[in-house]
């Protein structure tokens, strides 16, 4: 059997040609985007990134750069328990096998999971190897390899939750309250649940272990998690309060991805995978991580001895949208005005969430900041020191960490908080430290004589602060506070780490599912601008009006 032809990008499939391995004329927008990407990339790496140069580049460099996300990455890629500087995982072993077969060294590149294809398009990595499920849209946009694992999805719930012991409980809840199910955003589990229609609520997380932890803690009312089976096998011991519900569902394939225009590299990858499958290397690797199961064995990764894909394509598609095969088979990227028409309203609605977060969090931030600033300047010694410590602590730690702590720590100590309020409090606390500093400067700018005049008139300290000092300080701080308000608008994007879908997150979701990165990116930018520009104008106006020699 001649490897050169057997692993060409055009193997056959059981029934219909699988778009993954067939060079169907690509959709125009994808082509345009790709052309743009390539033109852009060529300007920077004119030698490296010409079409068809992928394998040559890897060989010349002697290194295969593979991208994956080690955050919550078990059993795929994760920091070794013994030596956190080392990586473990079946994909680490697989990368070694791929690189060995090509005759180069593997080199790991960290990337946020959902951004890995973007990293590859940027030219940072040669190959995405991180539990990416085969989907028609991915097959359309990237060079997609032979599968290296057949995954299934496992429903997880709390052991002590008597209202959720089967799939039927999930879809037809006995108490009539819709169940809330966590998934990894953009994953096959997400698509599987979306295909169920509005029978369940979906909570999208950025990390797989976050999604499981949310079930354990009932954080944000999450009842269940639909998880890739390998991940559950890996994490089972870490979540003793969770249990598997029903049989695995939604079979599909993990595939490696290369750039669409690098078929030689894809062929080399396919050859390595097939080799590993035939000589038992893949089985050994999977068994090492307890991933070799009856599904893998009986389906033999769905290849015939010629390396031809014979898998159940309908089964793979059923993961995507059950009962809607027709639309699946005609999936195509959306672009231009069409995508704006289709998805623009979704983005605008998410901009509403951004506004809601900002206008709820900012007044709280100003209030807390004012209290801290006043306590520092006028409070008793101990309280003043505590306020200083608060400001330094909050200012010295990142917003994303604060959000994470609020979202996952408060339920741990028995305080239920949903994602929206966790986001509001996180933003408010983070910004309160900055508002405290602004107010401190504002209070310092009030001449000493003002407090003396008030005291001489018999004002108590609190009354003097409330009637005389704080109103004057407020005028001084309005311009910088307005500036911070604009900054907060943009920082709401960070809230997606605790599953709040605001404008940025919605953009990532929509851009990935349509391929319309540029069109939706422009719309998203315009929406942000539409929110922040009026504030900028207001800030400028206030600055003019409240300059020290005007008192209106």
């Amino acid at each position: 059997m001649d490897a050169g032809t057997s692993y060409s990008p055009r193997p056959h499939f059981g029934r219909a040609p699988l778009p993954a391995f067939v060079s169907v004329p690509a959709f125009r927008s994808v082509l345009i985007l790709r052309a743009l990407a390539i033109v852009g990339a060529c300007l920077l790496w004119s030698i490296d990134l010409q079409a068809g140069e992928g394998l040559k580049r890897v060989l010349q460099r002697g290194i295969l750069i593979w991208g994956a996300d080690q955050e919550g990455g078990g059993p795929f890629v994760y920091p070794s328990a013994a030596d956190p500087n080392k990586l473990e995982g079946f994909e680490v072993d697989l990368a070694q096998v791929l690189a060995d077969s090509i005759g180069v060294r593997p080199q790991f590149q960290q990337g946020q999971w959902e951004k890995l294809p973007d990293l590859m398009e940027r030219g940072d990595i040669d190959i995405v190897l991180n539990g990416y499920e085969w989907t028609p849209s991915r097959a359309e946009r990237y060079g997609v390899s032979l599968p290296y694992y057949i995954y299934e999805l496992q429903l997880l719930a709390r052991k002590d939750d008597k209202t959720l012991t089967s799939w039927d409980d999930l879809i037809n809840p006995k108490d009539g309250r819709k169940k809330r199910v966590s998934v990894l955003g953009g994953s096959a589990a997400n698509d599987y649940l979306e295909a169920l229609g509005d029978k369940v609520q979906i909570a999208r997380f950025d990390g797989t272990s976050d999604a499981m932890r949310a079930v354990e803690l009932n954080a944000d009312g999450v009842d269940a998690n639909l998880q890739d089976l390998p991940i559950w096998i890996f994490y089972e011991q870490g979540f003793p309060r969770l249990t598997a519900i029903g049989n695995p569902v939604g079979r599909g394939y993990y595939v490696a991805m290369v750039r669409k225009n690098e078929p030689e590299l894809l062929a080399a990858v396919n050859k390595a995978i097939f080799q590993a499958l035939q000589d038992g290397t893949l089985r050994k690797i999977l068994a090492k991580y307890r991933l070799w199961n009856t599904t893998q064995m009986m389906r033999a990764l769905e290849l015939n001895p010629n390396g031809e894909f014979v898998g159940d394509i309908d089964g793979a598609k059923s993961i995507e949208v059950e009962g809607e095969k027709a639309t699946e088979e005609t999936f195509h990227a959306v672009s231009g005005w069409e995508v704006i028409r289709q998805r623009g309203w979704l983005l605008t609605q998410s901009a509403g969430m951004t506004v809601l977060l900002a206008v709820t969090a900012m007044p709280l931030a100003i209030l807390i900041g004012l209290i801290m600033a006043v306590t520092r300047r006028y409070g008793p010694w101990l309280l003043a020191r505590l306020a200083t410590a608060y400001v330094e602590l909050v200012r010295g730690t990142p917003l994303v960490l604060q959000l994470y702590v609020i979202f996952f720590l408060l339920p741990e100590i028995g305080i239920a908080i949903n994602a929206f309020w966790a986001a509001v409090f996180g933003l408010a606390i983070n910004y309160s430290a900055y508002e405290a500093e602004i107010y401190r400067a504002g209070l310092q700018a009030i001449p000493k004589g003002q407090l003396e005049a008030a005291e001489a008139l018999g004002f108590g300290k609190w009354l003097a602060l409330r009637r005389i000092i704080i109103p004057q300080a407020t005028r001084i701080v309005i311009p910088p506070v307005t500036n911070d308000f604009i900054a907060l608008f943009k920082d709401t994007a960070v809230c997606s780490v605790i599953t709040v879908v605001e404008l940025s997150k919605q953009y990532y979701i929509q851009a990935r599912s349509t391929g319309a990165i540029i069109e939706l990116g422009i719309l998203t930018g315009l929406l942000y601008l539409a929110m922040s520009y009026p504030l900028s104008l207001l800030a400028a106006r206030l600055e003019r009006q409240l300059s020290p020699d005007r008192h209106i």
Binding site: A456, L457, G458
Partner: protein
């Protein structure tokens, strides 16, 4: 009415008030004179607690203010501040309040007076200092002399038993000084008890009942204006007066 007994104030090793005693009778206009750094402003500000002191005591009516910090001193200060008004060198009007709001602020929020009554009183007082037509203006749009007259009206609105003036005309040019001095003279003629720290010799000579010369934290000489200006008894007073004449 107001008496200070043996007031001592130190900043570290530096003794700025070295046991000062004086008393001011009801209706008396008492002027404190002395070179810069003699401690006259500091002395004035101990009376309503804007400055602390280390020993001695201050009597305002039946209220006694002692040096030791604590609840007793705070309570005494609350009473004293409602009875004794103050006018500052830099006016210290509240820039975020209109002229009339500056005058009504303390009566309404400290004395809990009816706002309408307080407004009526404020109008009367502003008329009295010649600013009845400026009620709704912002302090920053007034001249220094006008601002200081508003400050006097603001102090009067508390119906004080005495008013402390801390160099009320030092930040003003001669014409504005005259405006303010004339208001202060009217006040003195109406029987208002006043303690005035000033460099304005004319005011001291013509309006004061008693003049005290401070020097290096002590009272060098006290007496009627006539005594002090016509026949000063001490070298310190003579030097000070000669210095003032040259300036």
């Amino acid at each position: 009415m107001i008496s200070l007994h043996n007031i001592v104030k130190r900043y570290g090793q530096n003794e700025v008030l070295r046991g000062v005693s004086l008393s001011v009778a009801k209706g008396e206009v008492c002027v404190l004179l002395g070179p810069s750094g003699s401690g006259k402003s500091t002395l004035l500000r101990t009376i309503n607690g804007l400055e602390t002191f280390n020993s001695g005591e201050i009597q305002v009516g039946d209220v006694t203010l002692r040096a030791e910090p604590g609840a007793a001193r705070d309570a005494a200060l609350r009473q004293i501040r409602q009875r004794v008004g103050m006018v500052f060198q830099q006016f210290n009007l509240f820039p975020h309040r209109t002229v009339i709001q500056n005058v009504t602020e303390a009566p309404i929020h400290v004395l809990k007076r009816d706002p309408e009554e307080a407004r009526q009183l404020a109008k009367t007082l502003l008329d009295r200092v010649g600013l009845g037509d400026k009620c709704d203006m912002w302090p920053s749009s007034l001249s220094g002399g006008q601002q200081q007259r508003v400050a006097i009206a603001r102090a009067l609105a508390m119906n004080p038993q005495a008013i402390l003036f801390d160099e009320p005309t030092s930040a003003l040019d001669p014409r504005m000084t005259a405006e303010v001095t004339s208001v202060m003279t009217d006040l003195a003629r109406s029987g208002q008890t006043m303690i005035v720290v000033t460099h304005a010799m004319g005011f001291a000579r013509t309006v004061a009942n008693t003049v005290h010369i401070l020097h290096a934290g002590t009272i060098a000489e006290s007496g009627s204006p006539q005594q002090i200006f016509e026949s000063p008894q001490t070298e310190v007073t003579r030097e000070f007066l000669a210095e003032a004449k040259r300036a």
